[in-house]
Point group: C2
Chain length 349, copies 2
Amino acid sequence: MEGKANIQDVAKRANVSIATVSRVINNQGGVRKQTEERILKAIKDLGYIRNAAARTMKSKDTKTIGVIVPDINNPFFPSVMAGIEQKAREKGYFAILSSTNESPVVEQEILKNFIERGVDGVIITTANENGDHLKQVHEQGIPIIAVDRSIQYYDVDTVLVDNVKGSYQAVQHMILQGHEKIAIICGPQNTTPGRERFIGYKKALEDYNLKLDERYIFQGDFGERSGYQGAHQLYSLEERPTAIFSSNNLMTIGCVKAMGDLDWKLGEEISFFGFDDVDIATFLNPKLSVVSRPMHALGELAFQLLHERIQFKDPVPKREYKLSPELIIRESCRLRYPNNSPDGQSLKK
Amino acid sequence: MEGKANIQDVAKRANVSIATVSRVINNQGGVRKQTEERILKAIKDLGYIRNAAARTMKSKDTKTIGVIVPDINNPFFPSVMAGIEQKAREKGYFAILSSTNESPVVEQEILKNFIERGVDGVIITTANENGDHLKQVHEQGIPIIAVDRSIQYYDVDTVLVDNVKGSYQAVQHMILQGHEKIAIICGPQNTTPGRERFIGYKKALEDYNLKLDERYIFQGDFGERSGYQGAHQLYSLEERPTAIFSSNNLMTIGCVKAMGDLDWKLGEEISFFGFDDVDIATFLNPKLSVVSRPMHALGELAFQLLHERIQFKDPVPKREYKLSPELIIRESCRLRYPNNSPDGQSLKK
DNA sequence: TAAAAAAATCTAAACGTTTACATTTAGGAG
DNA sequence: CTCCTAAATGTAAACGTTTAGATTTTTTTA
């Protein structure tokens, strides 16, 4: 009753030795039916729950993995987490989550704590792509999986989204709708996603023989404000673009706000494609077309890779996966020439 | 190097006994400066990290609290979590988070796991307000704090939002703007929030001598679709309301969508107030006025209460806190009579 | 300089499991 | 009925800490 029953108490009550109780708890078999039932009853009567700390001390593994995200308020991460948790539960693992608030210091603390707790593995979207702080984890032989952001210093398995492909397809879609003056609102070029999404844009233009026009490239910082500014700047051009690709969710929001303020008719005067789905997307009129990242799948895959590493400690070389994002075509991106066919001139690949 | 250094190894290397090392690790003082430095160096050299499992086994407490939320994808919870984590970190505690997906079964599993791990306390927004599944936790003497949803069976400390006050103030605001035909889109009356928000609405009307009009009460289910239907139904009335109060975020979204479809001019023909801030609120034109819940504060308070319980195990009676929500006045709620003053007749309190 | 007091350090016993290995028991075979 | 084998159960030694209480060292006092 007093919440302190241990294996001894159970053993005593069932009139067996602790070894037998242990065998029942972990169903290892080799216990007579009758005895097992007696023990099970004792466990129930005493409300016995096994002490994980003691267990861990002997058997080393904890059946627990640690997950570290940089910003729990960014809806992207809870979705990934959901994927991780689902797979983890299936395999009898338990996931504990912590958020760093983009602080490398906090991240380090959390990692240390995870090691102390003896997690069997770590899934992390790091706040410090450099990665030297993962040294301790690595030295303890704890497998690591990087999600969404790669880690430079150590060779860890990595699960990314194919940013290049995503932006390529979005821009391609606009091109096939007949657009030729397609602008991009870029993310910071010193981040992987920022760079890659720009590359996809360039590649699409190139493949369809459209030339890169500096005027249509706006350098943003992934923040809402810069999206707003970007739209304003593009609007102020003599020769306005007919379509805009925005490199992330926040800039998309800023951008659409600006369009509202400028009375720049979305879907009519200006087509639009955003990277990352946003709540407001289906809310606007017209609804926004976006590139959506497979967040749940990202999480599932991350756990799967981790699980393999945990089971087979052999030094398999680093693996890197890129998941394809999905194009969600809604209404914000319309045919350049609603009534005529495009001239087709530059559309040959 | 081999990631397996223990306190023994450190002791050996520093030429002291493990007791002294332990004292240094936990800085309990009583160690000569010189010795301490030697030990610290040994720890560093060996990359020693203390084994939490072993530690827990002796000293009982884990400096860890478990947090359980029903739906990690609902932005409300990550915000609360952020508040919890911040306070926890300040006090040297570590928070582990798990999501139940609104499944009582999963919740039970997680709780068991938390007990096994020996968490010092639990903060929970339960998927099962009944609460009998918390029996085990209770029996182990582990303190529990309920957040946002109360728990019937056991007397646990509870941190709620003052739903009555929030909706009261919102409705009051609309009344003071001169509205008299104020509709409500209710949440389910078998949930605490649904009931309480309706009570606030009724109370406000009563206090200002406005009579309750059945036609203006729409029974929703907290889902987006019901908000949409609600707006439609209210629009179809011969005598339409001039203002609407929506009881939660999702119904707000549905509601506003409907208004768009109906071309029911928000802020002009129809004023609006929602419970819970939503992303789209500042995005619409006019911007939505809403009741905002102090999520961060909720989390902070929850941890604070838990911490007290952990420290002083005395059986203090159950405490219940209601935090005041905040009115965010934006633009969706306008004066009923922009040019004339309201007739004032029914406005005396 | 010796004894007393204070400070630093050490020894050893838990904590609650798991698990190799030892022992007992049950059930047949002879 | 005895012996043998296999199955069931028990014994005891870890695992890596923390922490009383014992012991040693250092400092103070006379």
